[in-house]
Structure formats: structure tokens, C-alpha cells
Symmetry: D3
Subunit: 245 residues, 6 copies
């Protein structure tokens, strides 16, 4: 079985980090591939217009990997941008980080909190919670005031901030589970330490996204994948060809 | 005051129809412009991937019209695609058809129903209702089984179908207000007749979208426009230049 | 086009202030009238029983202004008292401050907060949010501990309190938009300064109520007004005569 | 212990019927009084403006009965009009039919349906369900197309219609409990027969309202009554005197 | 009329306290019985597995008391454990503390807060609020950090903690009503003092549970009890015999 | 890796069927065990009191399998009975059929419907949807009028009924995904045919429950399991010993 993780940015600088994380957690019967998009595209998705900029490449990549026979693709960003469009275009399972993470989180405890980098991120991520139907399970969203750039350049500081806000989420907001909104943002051992420190599960969207993709790739073999009636109905084949997509 | 209506499709075939509608309803102190996007782009937005395809052009158009000094822009599609990104990029009010229509509808009666062309359209349109916070006021969404193409080629049949489903929405679902999801889909007089026949207000997203844009353009003069803290925070100017947007 | 603003109290002491505010914001094609109710009636609506006391006069005024040919009436109190009854009695648009303000607010950002004078006001105003269907968009309601009387006698102190609580609403509660519950409570320039200071739109119910009334008066010309099927169904004409209403 | 049932209409034509019903269900240690309001007032509350018309008399009656030392008052109309104002004015428990009925209904089964006379009644009654916080327990509201006048003049026909719609509520909407919105609308034995026929509890708002009033009158002795902090805060005594209320 | 209060624990150490409380509040026409379960069963229900351990005895007790002709039974624990099963087995009203308390609380003010002993208790108690349909009326749940054991051994300290957290619930969370989650946890006079101190009603689940049981026992005489169609449908008689229940 | 499927009934008659199903879907690196409970216990869980009867055995089995070193246990009933208690007692992942099935369903389409055997089952299953936080994603629950006994004795008739109601759920209720509430109720090939016939994914709780358990067993290796702070906090070890659990 083959699954591709797509970093929807125009830089490969995180690819090794992500692949080494995946190699730590993937099933031995699943091959992992990590790719990124064309150079020149944004190297972060802080803004929704950047999500738009990368979407074209992202969708073509997903279509290509389905053609190559992959079993699932993961969109590696917690905004879940392009999910609706991707599921229109392919039958292969397409996994989105936030969707996968919060559904798993909801099964692990009474309520979960999401730790968010910047205030900017919060509205779309909270709207996603609403659209995915899980508002009732959301204890809080807490902001650590770290941009993606700042996370990458100061992982120790970010870890401290996440520890602090997660602790507050557990102690004051009633969270029993913590969901991170940035994938592989700590070293694996730091993540384990953080869980031990907080005493509650901490979901990294890379880990949960990947494992959920393995689940969905398995289910696909039994005919179970995203529904093609309704919201994910595909455009007519001839129209798609005309638009070269 | 100047407001631009953007048909987010690669065809101008509806422009005259829309402009003549707007001329019927616009305030005399407001200039109307109706534009469409580049040829070759999809001529309808049945599918979300088509929404994606037109978004680049759409966003550039909105940015351009702000630079030209327009007072508001309207995205002429009930999916409200690109709204988040557009509001990131400009300070000028950007109006979306579904958002404007259902907020006005909510003030006119106990509950409203949305008449939807195809089942395909329903999930995103209903998710929008959730995100806009109005699920409690939604009586139902009823499907008339008309694609955009079929609406354009059989307006009489479409009118009959809308009449039938709207009547059922009022009689069985408890709707006190009807919201159409396709703009200017009838002649103006047919719309008045439909209202008279049903006995409830029927909101055409072109009429409500336009008038709401006039309202927002007015409010902008008093410093009121979409918030730039949080979800609509703009990307840094220098980054945007780099990406030529 | 003619619109009447009704101060539902037995004093005209705020009329000039309100009229001068309206003159600043009204369209040039709309005539403004500001009226108050009979002397002896309560001069504020802190309590719901006061709302009841003024309602008779209020309803008669609304009916009279419809007969005079006005295009819309605004009930000038954020409790929105008498709205249901007024819409039963007339076909002319009747605009309520809270309803208009929060629907506009909902289109301007992820969530809004309402700044409330006294705790006493909060339950009905929050129940209104529920009934209007917008609970999901409400970030918080914050209390400044000012009665209507105290607002009128200490506008500077009130402005400070609003500034403080609005800032907290934005910084701690996630509000991207602020809604005031007392109309024209600052001078127009102070309002602009407050917006600049906070960096988010601040909705004065007088401004938004008035502009929404202009919108609704426009829409009325196209047959769109509150639905007369269901909740706003009018009593039989002969019964109303019997009760002299 | 003494409890007064107030028929908020200007006619005493239902008083005997209601009193004989109450005598059938009241505790022997509770004295019952049934009153109506001034002649000339509406003899039904089909419309919200009629609710307004009777409210003055209604509030004065409630204040009077508190002064007389009664232990509770019941507002005998399922719109629950005047509840907020009444609870401002007195400390004695004031019971409203819909509020009492649906809270009891919610404890008796998974979901309840409300049988409504006319479509006109539905929006306010459903808004009450929202404000009382019980939307999640509402299976449906079903309309029998009977005005209050028609109920009074054709009780047999009304009983048939209620039986039919209640059966559908149970069979198709998932209701496990039926709530009537018109008090004492059948003879007591017919009510028992209806329950036997349907196999589910059927709540007459007179029975439930009365028994809930007995409960609240008991609780009052232990210091428990509606809260006087917040929404039911009373106006200052001197102000009330000035307004003779 | 006879009502039994069942302390669902294997100890009688609270029976006298509870009976003396009930004797203070019961109607003179209602006989009270207080029982506990078999020795060896848990003496507190801090954990859900303890709820399970006592449920067998609890259900048999409820069935027995129905056979004896009692009019209602009360499950004396705020987790409401066994309610669903008990209502399957009997037709006699079975009252649960949390269900009764929060429905009454909802009628007394805008929102209520529940004071919870330990964080452990909160998730199930909040899930109950959801299932009973009252999430919208819940202001907050506040934790005093007292186990049942600690409450029993330090009532003065517990009273202080409840006073402190209740005050915060009223002052900061918007609660107009306080609901306790431990029955008879103060002396009756302390409860009255607490209400006077806070200025809002404080609901002891023993008082409200008992009075609600009296209400339901009364309603049973008019054919009103929990619905036996749907969720509370009883197992076939012969099957139950086989399982000796 | 070893996972145990527990049929919470006192009969082994379904064990072979379930095991053969699991063998079809399990990962080759996961060992499957299927067990049932003590003879004499109910052989179906139509009623909640039967759920209670089997819970003791069920909990002891789960504790035992954790001691044996298993990686996860699945409670094989769509009522999810005993989940809260089981998660208190162990750290090993405990998977419940409904919880797992509806979270997966929610990721596969706009809304899902649950096909329910008998009306009796519906309230608890719908309450579970609420407690799990997914009410917004539930299109409908449809009843096929088959008891567990009848399903076992007439699988062909049951299949027809499921096909009919699922079709209606898709065509009329807006379901894009179907969730079954009885595990392994068809042969595997019939399930595939049903999916092909309906054109939407059909989730058998056995398949989804099992695969979700594999996911959770994997996640456990990275420290992620149900939270032990809050609702699933375990009783003190010494207390548990005393109660022999």
C-alpha cells in the first residue's frame, strides 16, 4: 500500500523532517512518499490567499498520485484547504489534517482544545470544526502567538508556549485532549515528554493524519471511501479534460 | 458611488441580463458595472474545482476594482467562493450572494428555505449556512433538479419547478421566506408574480446581493467594513508583491 | 423616501441628538423623522415592564406612519420590544435595532461581542440573539455597568468603559466586531476614534438600524418585506377596528 | 396554599370549565381561583397584538394577587405572554403554560411534539422552545388548523384532528410525548381516552401548568423562586409608583 | 401517597440525614421512605464503575417498590445512573436528581451553573445536560475539589468552597440560578443562608428531586408518566422472568 | 498486535460469523480473537436492562484482556454500553461501534443516516450521537422494524428492508453515507452489492469498529489513548481490589 503526504507549499525544507516522522509511525506494509509543490509557490500557508495559490498544484498532484495507483493522499496543512475540490476529482481517499485529528480527538475524551499558532488561523479552523460537526466537543482554541516561520526558527520557544497553553486548556477550559495545528512541530521524543507532562493525549496532525490515511486506505478495499453522491460528485469527464485538470 | 458585480465565469453571456436587472433596482446615486472573467475559464460553477479555477481571476479583479476606487464588489455566485481570500486582500466591502441573502431572509420571517438547483450544490451551501451561523433559521433546502445550463435553456420549466418546490417549502417545511440560489434566474415580472402567487417574499440573490452591497458601501464611509483583525488579516505587503497578487 | 425613527420613550430629550446623527448618515433621497411617545411614559426602557408600558403608543405610531405613506419605521431600542406585534399590524418594513445590528455584524467577521449597559439587559438581548438564530456568531456579551441614565449623564465615563470592555472582547473573547446596545451613545467622531483605537468595526445601532431601514425600504419596492404568512399574519381587519388599533 | 389561574382574556366564558378541571386535579391543601380580565379586552389571543392588549390588566392582576398573599399565579395562555414582565414585578412564582409543559414533557420521553392550532401560533411557540433551551427535545410541531374560536365551537372535530396529528407525530416524527397548546380543550375523560389510544402521555397545559404551580409554590417556602438577579430584576420601587404599576 | 428515596450505595450512613431533610419538605399527604442498598456495595459513586456495581440492587429495589404500590421512586445520585433501565422496568415515575434539578432551574432564570465536586464528575454530568436538551441554559460547571468523602467529613469547608464558586458563577459566568450536585450537603439553615448570601436560588437535588417526585406522582394519577413507546419500552414479561428481574 | 472483539451476550452463536468477517478485513499483523460472555446472560441487547445484565462480565473481560497484553478491545454492540466504565478501568484502547462508525461516517460525506432495527433502539443511539457531538451531521435515523432475533432468522428480508430505507435516506433525507447499527448483518458480498446499488458508502459497525481498533492500537504505541484526566479517571487501585474488579 502506498500513501503520499503532500506538503502544500513551494519548498521542500520540511520534507526530510516529515518523512523521518512518518517512518517512525507508518505500518511496515505501507510505503510513504513525501512531496512538495512547485518552487515559487508560497512556503507557508498563513493566509488563505496562499492556500488558493498552491491549490492548483495540490489538486494536480492528488490526481497524479491517484493515476499512479496510490491508495491515499494527505493534504499536509491544518486549514484543510482544497479538500472539497480534491474529493471531487478523485475516488482515492484524501485525508485532511484537521478533519482527521479532531474526529480522533473526539473519541479520546470529553472535550478537546486546539492549539493555534496565530489568531489569524483561528476563524477558518473553528469554521472547520463547525462544518465537521464537532463544535460541541471543542473546549477551546488557544493561541501561542507563533507564525509558521517562527515555529520553524524557534522550536524550543514554541514547545514552551504549547506546553503553557495546553496546560491552561486542560486546567481551565476542561480539555481532556490536546490537538496541535502544526504538524511535526516537535521532535518525536519531545512530543512524548509533552504528553507525559500534561497527562493527556496530544495529537500531532502528522501522526493522526497519517494513521487515519492508513485506516482509510484499508477501508477503500471494502468499497468505503468518500461518497460520490452530493457534495463530492465529480465533474463530467469531458468537461474536466477541456479544463486540463 | 460605484459597485462592480463580478460574474465569476469565463463567459459574458449573462452580463446584459444581470446589468439590466441591476439597472432596475440600483439607487440612482450608484454606478453599476458588470464584468466577467477570462475566456477559457469555466462558464458555470457547478463544481468546486471550477470555483477554484476562476478564483485567481476573481481575486485579481477584486483587487483591481479596489485600486480603481470602487466602493464595493459582489461575487456573483451563491457558493460564495473566494470570499475569505478576497476580504484578506482588500478593505473595500466584498459581498457574497448567499451570505447577504440569508441574513436578510432571517429578518423577514420565522424560517427560510433555499431552493437549490442540483443536489450537488446543497452540501457547500448548507455548510455556508452553518458557518454564517444561521442553521436555526433554515426551514429546508429543496432541490429542483436543474443545472445552471438547464436553467439558462429552460427558464419556463425552471420557474415551474421553483414555484412547485417553494410552495412545498411554505406549506410543509414551515418556510415563511424563500431564497433562490441562482441570480436573475427569472424575469423581474415573473419574480413579482411568483411572490404574489406564494404569498411570501422570494429573495433573488442578485437583488439582495446588490442592495446589500449598497448598504455596505454606505457603511464603509463610517468606517464600518469587514474586520481586518483575525480571519481577514491581510498578508504582509511585501509578500504579496512577491507573489504578484 | 421617508423613514421614521421612533424613540419608544415618553421624552424628547434625545431627539435632536438622534436626528443630527441620522442627518449625518442618511441618504440624500431619504427624509428622516424622529419622534418620541406621549409624556408620562417611561423615559427609559431599563425594565421589561417599561417596554410594555410604551408599547401601545409605539404600535399606534407605527400604524399611523404606515398610513401617512412612510417607507419604513425603526424601533429605537435594542430590546426590540414590540417587533412581533408591529409586524403583525403593518406591511411597511419595521426595523429593530438588535436584529439589524447583529445580522450586519455577522457578515463583518468571525464573531461579534455585544457591549451591554447593565446585567439586567443581558438575558433578553441574548434571548434575542437565539431567536434571531445567531448564537454561534456571538463571542461574548460584556457589561459596562452603566444604566441609560448614567450613560446620558456621563458619556465620557461610558466611552472609557466601552473602550475597555471592547478591547477585552477583542483580545480575550475572540470578537472581530463590536456591537453597541445603546444608540448614538457617543459623538460621531468619538465613534470613529473608537474604531481606529480598537482596529475593528464598532456598530452603533442607530447607524446600522437606519441604514438597514433604507435597505429594507428599497427592497419593499420589489415586493420584499416581512412575510405575512405565519408569525406576522395580521388580525382580521374587523377585529382590529373593534379594538381600535 | 392559594393559587390563581388567570385567563388572560376579556371573557369569563371558559372560567367554569377551567375551574372544574382544576378541581379535578388540585391538591386538597391548595385553594384554586380562576379569573379573567376586563370586558372589552380580546376574548382570544390568536394575535400577538391581542397579547399586548391584555398585558396591562394581566400584570396588574398578578401584582394584586401577590399582595393578597397568593402563593403562585398561572398565565393561562401557551404563548406565555407577559412572563418576563410579571416576574420582574413580583417575587411570587409566576407559571407559564408552555414553559411548564415542555420541561415536564422533556423528562417523560426522548422527544415531544407540540400540537398547534394554527400556523400563526407556531413561530412564537417555537421561539419559546428555543429561549427555554429545549429545541433538541422537540420532535415536531403539528398544526390542526383550528382557531381558538373553532376549538370552542367544535370540540369533537378538534379532538379528531388532535388525535390524527398526534398519531402522526408519534408514528412519523419520533415523538414519545404529546404536548397540547390549548388548555382544557377536551373533557377530562376524552383526554384519558386519547392517551390510551395513542399509548403516550398527552400533556394538557392546564393540568401541567397547575401542578407545576403547586410545585413552585412549595419550593417558594424553601426560598426557591425565579431569580431576581439579572433578567427578572425589579424596577426601583419609587419608579414603579410613579407609573402606577 | 408513598415515595421512596433510594440512596444507591451500600451504606446507610446518610439515611437519617436525608430522611430528616425530606421530613422538612414533604407534603403531609405523602409518606417518605429512605433506603440504601446491600452492604458491600460501594459507599460512594465517584466512579462510573461503582454506578454499575450498585445498579443491579438499585433496579431490583425500584421494581420491588412498584410492586409494593409506591407512587414514585427517586434515584439519589446526580449522575442519574440507571434511569433508562429503571424506566424500562416500571411504569411508576422514576425521578433522577440531575434531570429534575436542571429542568426546574431552567424555569427560574436565564442560565444556571452546576457546582461539581470533582473534575471526574463533570463529563457525565455535562453529557446529561446535553441529553436532557438543556446545554443552551447552562452558564458553567464549576468544580470545588471535594470528593464525596471529603464533603461528608468537612461540610464547613465544602460550604465555603460552594459559596466561593457559586459567587463566581453568578458574578462571572452569568448564572442566575445555582444547582448543587450533591444532595443534602448542607444543613437546611445553611442552605437558606447561602441563598440569602448569593441572592439567587440554590437548588439542592434532594429538595428539588423530592418535590419533582411529588409532582410526577400526582401526574401519574392522570395517566401521565414516562412514555412506554420508544426508549422506555419494557422487555417482554416472559424474558424478564427468565432473567429474574 | 492482538485485538479482541467481545460479543456482549451470553451466546456464541454469532462468533464464527464475526470471526470470519474479521479475518476478511484484518491486517495480517493483527491477531483476532472473538469472545462472548457467560451462558445464561441475555443473547441479545434489545433492552437497556439487558445491557446492564451483561456489563459485569463485559468489564471483567476487558480488564482480563488488558492484563493478557492485548492491544485493544471492541465492545460489539451499537448501544456502546459500558464504554465509560471500561475506559475507567483500563488504559488499553476500548472501541465502541457507534462512536467509531459515526466519526468515520462524518468524514465521508455531508451527512449520514443510521439504519435502526427497532424504534426501541433509536433514543439511546440518537443520544449517543449527541454525546459524541455529531448531531449536525446526522441526516436521519430510519427504522426497518427488525429485532435482532428477526435479523438473524431472516437476513434476506432484513437486507431488503435496509436497502429500501437506505435508499430513502439517500433520496429524501440527504444522506451521503449509510451507517448500519447491527454488525455483520449481511454477508460480505451482499454488503458490497448494497454499496454498489446505493452508490454511497455503507458502514458496517463490525468493519469500521475493527479497523478503528487497529488505528487506535497503533496510536497507543505513540502514547495516544483515551484521556485519563476527567471522565475516564480510574478508581484508586485499593478500592478496586476491595470490590474485586
Amino acid at each position: 500500500m502506498k500513501i503520499v503526504w503532500i506538503a502544500p507549499v513551494g519548498t521542500g525544507r520540511f520534507d526530510d523532517r516529515i518523512l523521518s516522522f512518518i517512518n517512525r509511525i507508518r505500518r511496515s506494509d505501507v510505503d510513504a512518499e513525501v512531496i512538495h509543490l512547485s518552487p515559487g509557490l508560497p512556503d507557508n500557508l498563513e493566509y488563505h490567499v496562499y492556500e488558493h495559490m498552491v491549490e492548483d498544484d495540490l489538486l494536480h498532484a492528488i490526481v497524479d498520485y491517484e493515476k499512479k495507483g496510490h491508495d491515499a493522499a494527505i493534504i499536509g496543512c491544518f486549514y484543510d484547504g482544497g479538500l472539497r475540490e480534491a474529493r471531487e476529482l478523485v475516488k482515492m481517499p484524501v485525508i485532511a489534517e484537521e478533519e482527521a485529528s479532531i474526529h480522533v480527538a473526539a473519541t479520546l475524551g470529553h472535550k478537546f482544545s486546539i492549539i493555534v499558532g496565530r489568531r489569524k488561523w483561528l476563524p477558518k479552523m473553528e469554521d472547520n470544526v463547525r462544518v465537521y460537526g464537532l463544535s460541541e466537543k471543542l473546549a477551546s482554541m488557544r493561541i501561542v502567538q507563533f507564525s509558521i516561520e517562527k515555529i520553524a526558527s524557534d522550536r524550543a520557544g514554541y514547545l514552551e508556549a504549547v506546553k503553557r497553553e495546553s496546560h491552561l486548556a486542560v486546567a481551565e477550559d476542561g480539555a481532556e485532549v490536546i490537538v496541535l495545528s502544526e504538524e511535526a512541530s516537535f521532535d518525536y521524543d519531545d512530543l512524548l515528554d509533552l504528553q507525559a507532562h500534561l497527562g493527556v493525549p496530544v495529537l500531532d496532525p502528522l501522526i493522526v493524519g497519517w494513521k487515519f490515511a492508513e485506516l482509510m486506505a484499508d477501508l477503500k478495499r471494502h468499497g468505503i471511501a468518500h461518497s460520490k453522491i452530493g457534495g463530492y460528485e465529480a465533474p463530467p469527464t469531458d468537461e474536466l479534460k477541456r479544463f486540463d485538470c
